[in-house]
């Protein structure tokens, strides 16, 4: 197994640099590691990268995904049943890095597995596995001093989350180890909830821009290529999670062959990709 040497430039920064040059916006999705199995998860990561995803958020499975909606709760349960956990998620990223050293990988999930591994041990292992950043569902910056220090030491970013009601001190913090992009959540509520209107999204992005110099990506509630396109017009990237997971599950129900399934996945990704590119390149 080839080990990727630590990078000087974080892949997330590199990605935004490249996209800026191409005048394009980032398209991001989320998948839970080991849902439904380690091998299929790995295949999906490759399909994502191959069909136009710029950055992948990888959920590390947790027993109590309390802040998520039903879709992602169930994905967590399938992944746990397949033997998934934080350590296996790192294995997955390491395996992905054997063929892809460019697509940024961001770990996303709950804090207990992270604190259990220890902040320093976690940061070191994550960097070694080729991970570029961390989104912690239940780990606000005001609690994260020690974790952020460990991340900084190993060249990883903690990605700040910004909600409309959040005060600047809780997301616009400049500190080594905090960066990558600002994850802008335009609606209050769990994952898989209702969509915000494009006006509301634009306002939320506008507010983020006033407070932070980081690139802004918008997630939560983006459910169609059309909305993704609208989001891309105002933000630097768009994140689609629940809508894609639900869509892929639907495909699966028809019991396609692996090849057919991955074609479907690629097509779906591309429909979003094209909508985004059309709206922003045009």
């Amino acid at each position: 197994m080839a080990k990727s040497a630590p990078k000087r430039i974080n892949r997330i920064d590199a990605m935004f640099e490249r996209l800026r040059n191409e005048n394009r916006k980032a398209f991001v999705t989320f998948t839970v590691a080991s849902d439904p199995s380690f091998d299929e998860s790995l295949e999906r990561l490759k399909t994502f990268a191959a069909s136009g995803i710029d950055l992948i958020e990888i959920g590390h499975p947790f027993s109590d995904p309390i802040l998520d909606g039903a879709t992602i709760q169930k994905a967590n349960r399938r992944a746990l049943a397949a033997g998934g956990n934080l350590r296996r998620t790192l294995d997955l990223c390491r395996a992905f890095r054997e063929t892809d050293d460019r697509t940024p990988l961001i770990l996303m999930g709950y804090s207990n597995p992270v604190i259990t591994m220890g902040y320093e041990g976690f940061a070191e292992a994550a960097a070694e596995a080729g991970i570029d950043g961390l989104i912690a569902a239940d780990f606000p910056l005001r609690e994260a001093d020690d974790l952020v220090k460990a991340l900084a030491k190993h060249g990883l970013y903690m990605i700040p989350l910004a909600a409309p009601t959040l005060e600047a001190r809780d997301f616009a913090v400049e500190k080594p180890g905090i960066g990558g992009f600002l994850y802008c959540i335009p609606v209050v509520g769990p994952t898989g909830g209702p969509s915000a209107s494009k006006e509301v999204i634009a306002q939320a992005v506008e507010r983020c821009r006033r407070q932070s110099s980081l690139p802004i990506m918008v997630g939560f509630g983006v459910k169609t290529p059309e909305l993704a396109a609208d989001v891309a017009k105002v933000a630097d990237g768009v994140i689609v999670a629940t809508a894609l997971i639900d869509r892929f599950l639907e495909f699966k129900r028809e019991q396609p062959t692996d090849a057919v399934f991955h074609l479907h996945v690629a097509d779906t990704i591309k429909s979003y990709r094209d909508a985004i590119d059309l709206a922003t390149l045009g």
Partner: protein, 395 residues
């Protein structure tokens, strides 16, 4: 006075435990709540109304009760029960439900949301919300709801909207998750009512403050009777009655404070609920605390014959008090707790819940080693009515 149990290292912390491990979107909500609580708690009018409600609505003070015929030995310390089972709707949840609803109303909120497992917290919250004319939404797992049809009807009689959760374990954990998500989406109108001093700051501090009335009453009642206890025991579930009772004795180093945990079947390796004595440091339900988790940080299912003790997390204050050695831990098995409850019923005509049975079983061991002039207090947070089917099985 809310700070009796707080040894703060930084805001919202008890030693190294506590904090606010929540979705960032909840931070402003928690900040508002903290400010609202501090303002209310320093307002004498708030205390006047709270006390009035505790006396005239909840039915406090609750009595202390001697159980001379219970011990299986002679000599040793006497055991005294603090009978919070004798409040309205039978339990100490009412103490903090009243406080939190009163606070929510003071903060201009019009609704409350909570979760419930056995139905006790839901019933208390629904009753208080009815009294305050506030909308009330209660999430309950489908499995729990099926097991507690009476509790469901009671919440509905109090006008609460009961949402049955079919997700995941269809029990408390999915109910909590659903309630938190409801709250995240409605925090401008709804207050989340916590059943226990767990969760992100300021919940642990706030719930503990509202439950302190247990300890204050107990201390006063004992002093009136001319005794100070040698040990105070309470079985730990969410920890509301434990913190509430311990609060008035924690600064008195001569009094032993003993948190009793459920050992389940007691077999080595079998699931239990002993996270204070055997748990790991972790982050769970919004706070850094001691949890039952595996080496990968996955939360383990807790197990006990007493549903109220089977919680994998712990109140951060308790985690701190245990870490600092101020609170001791003991365990009691399912069988020991059952035996204690049955014997108390037969010898004293008092039916306490299996949760309290754990503390009583431990208290007997502790009291036996003491002198007859000493006293040991055991918390009885709710009545054993809910456990009758477990305790008496017709053959």
């Amino acid at each position: 006075m809310a700070r009796a149990l707080k040894v703060e290292s930084r805001p919202g912390r008890y030693g190294s435990f506590g904090g606010q491990f929540v979705a960032p979107v909840l931070l402003p909500v928690l900040d508002r709540l903290e400010a609202g609580f501090r303002s209310a708690w320093s307002d004498p009018a708030f205390h006047t109304e709270l006390t009035h409600l505790l006396n005239r609505f909840v039915g406090r003070p609750t009595p202390l009760f001697d159980i001379p015929a219970f011990p299986s030995w002679s000599g040793g310390a006497r055991i005294v029960l603090k009978r919070d089972d004798l409040t309205f709707n039978g339990g100490n949840y009412a103490n903090s439900a009243v406080g939190q609803c009163l606070l929510a109303r003071r903060m201009g909120l019009s609704a409350v949301v909570t979760d419930t497992g056995s139905g006790q917290n839901g019933i208390a919250t629904a009753a208080v919300a009815a009294r305050f004319g506030m909308r009330c939404t209660i999430y309950m797992g489908a499995r729990d709801a099926a097991a507690q049809p009476q509790a469901c009807k009671k919440m509905r009689l109090f006008g609460a909207k009961l949402e049955i959760v079919e997700d995941a374990d269809r029990a408390l954990s999915s109910a909590t998750s659903a309630a938190i998500r409801h709250w995240m989406g409605n925090s401008d109108t709804d207050a989340y009512v916590a059943g226990a001093p767990i969760g992100p700051h300021p919940y642990p501090e706030m719930v503990a403050a509202f439950q302190q009335v247990i300890g204050k009453e107990t201390r006063l009642q004992l002093v009136e009777g001319g005794v100070l206890p040698s040990a105070v025991l309470s079985a730990v579930g969410g920890g509301s009655s434990t913190i509430g009772l311990f609060s008035s004795f924690v600064s008195d180093p001569s009094i032993r404070l003993i948190a009793v945990e459920a050992a389940g079947s007691g077999e080595a390796g079998a699931p239990n609920s002993a996270r204070l004595s055997q748990g790991r440091r972790g982050i769970f339900h919004g706070a850094e605390t001691l949890v039952l988790a595996d080496a990968e940080g996955q939360i383990l299912a807790a197990n006990s014959i007493a549903p109220g003790l089977a919680y994998p997390g712990s109140a951060p204050q308790l985690a701190d008090l245990v870490s600092r050695g101020r609170v001791e831990t003991m365990t009691a098995t399912d069988a020991e707790a059952q035996r204690a409850v049955r014997r108390l019923a037969e010898t004293e005509g008092v039916l306490i819940c299996l949760e309290a049975g754990h503390a009583l079983a431990a208290a007997e061991h502790v009291a036996r080693t003491m002198e007859p002039h000493e006293a040991v207090v055991v918390m009885t947070p709710s009545s054993g009515d809910k456990d009758i089917d477990i305790l008496w099985q017709d053959s």
